[in-house]
């Protein structure tokens, strides 16, 4: 009887602990911008898995925008930004710099591949 009680208490404690354990932090993906490139320029994401995008700039104001993935970030040198998103649709999505940064700006883009 005593042993059964101990087992029950241990099981209950384990349940409570499990409930209080935070889920793993989202994977962090670093994306750097400089005129007129993103590094890396292809990033693979996993469908239905949260991911944190951390965006930095090496030279001036840049944007990272892809409407379909709800990614909308701005960065200046020394002022990074980040967002956590969960892509729910597989596919290939083009991201653009949407903060005009000079005459090569029109082709400053990268790709997210969600699998």
């Amino acid at each position: 009887m005593k042993n059964a009680l101990i087992v029950a208490l241990i099981a209950a404690a384990a349940t409570v602990l499990a409930a209080q354990t935070p889920s793993p932090a989202p994977r962090v993906v670093e994306i750097g911008a400089k005129r007129f490139d993103f590094t890396p320029n292809v990033v693979k994401l996993t469908k239905d898995e949260p991911v944190t995008i951390r965006f930095t700039s090496a030279d001036r104001a840049h944007g990272l925008f892809v409407k379909a993935l709800d990614i909308d970030l701005d960065a200046n040198p020394g002022k990074p930004s980040e967002i956590t998103v969960t892509p729910h649709e597989a596919g290939t999505f083009a991201a653009i710099c949407d903060h005009y940064c000079g005459s090569g700006h029109g082709n400053m883009k990268m790709t997210f591949v969600v699998e």
């Binding site: 104001a61 944007g63 409407k67 083009a94 653009i96 949407d98 903060h99 005009y100 000079g102 005459s103 700006h105 029109g106 082709n107 883009k109």
Partner: protein
């Protein structure tokens, strides 16, 4: 070369789809009750009677741009000036829809490009010219150089019964109009009945034409919501370097050709790369737009004309840009 192009010839050229800018014609407000009310309102406000007129749209001259994909420099712009000067009768008004200059990291060099644009535009016989900035004019300095040359980046005015609104969707650095300008637009339009013909001119498209190529305005839907109650809205824009026409609700959107180089159709091309220069047709895909309007019927027709027209240039092929002793 002195050459006169009457409206009939211009229309025939545009029907043949050969390429140079835009000419809009407007007819007087008619005898309907709303038309007469509006005519009286605008007459009192502006001291002028609404009447038929035409306008020309020129876009994306990119003065200062050099190098691939073509060696034209300002030659297409200068040829367009000649073509517009040859129109008989002359249009009332010319609208420039942005990217007048190509940007430079050197502010002094960019200022020289604005001055060069002005010196070419000053050859136009039409002296009433209105401008909005493109990102190459205004996104790096918040529009300061543009304002020095042309005044505010957004404004409105009336011309013979049509209300014109200039919108700036570039100088914030992002493709955005912004809450302040949208509030201004609401206040500006509140003075008019819903039947008032309205022409909005801006640089970027006010809808998601191709966001992956940055052919959009992030808050364009908010702008169009403000315009939605009005019966006759025409939006003229540039930026995409190719003609495009779309109707959404009561608004019709028209993109003009550029005067520097053309972009391909994104529906059939994956990469955003300029169309290669063709020596046999140096002005191919570059052009002028003529716009005809009828205030009585609240309709506006758009006629695009390519600069490759022999009737405009007087010659063909590479000779169109190296004639008169010119060289590339």
């Amino acid at each position: 070369m002195k050459r006169s192009i009457d409206r009939r010839t211009f229309m025939r050229i545009s029907a043949a789809s050969i390429g140079a800018g835009a000419l809009l014609h407007f007819m007087p407000l008619g005898s309907t009750a709303s038309g007469l009310t509006l005519r009286n309102l605008l007459g009192r406000r502006n001291g002028e009677s609404p009447g038929p007129f035409s306008i020309v749209q020129l876009s994306d001259t990119h003065v200062g741009f050099q190098g691939p994909p073509d060696p034209l420099g300002t030659k297409a712009f200068e040829r367009a000036v000649d073509a517009v000067n040859a129109l008989d009768p002359q249009p009332d008004l010319i609208l420039f829809t942005g990217d007048l200059t190509h940007d430079s990291d050197d502010p002094a060099e960019h200022a020289r490009r604005f001055a060069s644009f002005q010196s070419i535009a000053d050859r136009l016989r039409v002296k009433k010219r209105m401008h909005v900035p493109g990102e190459h004019d205004a996104a790096l300095d918040g529009g300061n150089l543009f304002r020095e040359h042309f005044g505010e980046t957004h404004y409105s005015f009336d011309h013979r019964g049509v209300h014109f609104v200039a919108l700036d969707n570039v100088s914030a650095g992002k493709p955005i109009v912004g809450a302040g300008q949208i509030a201004w637009l609401k206040k500006d339009l509140a003075r008019f009945p819903k039947t008032a013909p309205i022409v909005v001119f801006t640089h970027r498209p006010l809808f998601d034409l191709k966001p992956e190529w940055e052919w959009f305005t992030r808050d364009g839907d908010q702008v169009m919501n403000v315009l939605a109650p009005y019966d006759a809205v025409t939006v003229l824009y540039g930026h995409i370097h190719r003609p495009h026409h779309a109707t959404m609700g009561t608004a019709r959107h028209h993109a003009a050709r550029s005067l520097i180089f053309a972009f391909p159709d994104p529906a059939t091309t994956a990469e955003k790369k300029p169309i290669p220069f063709d020596q046999s047709q140096p002005f191919h895909n570059l052009g002028i737009r003529e716009i005809d309007g009828n205030g009585a019927r609240h309709t506006i027709s758009v006629n695009d004309v390519e600069l490759t027209s022999r009737e405009i240039s007087g010659t063909e092929g590479i000779q169109q840009i190296i004639r008169q002793g010119e060289s590339l």
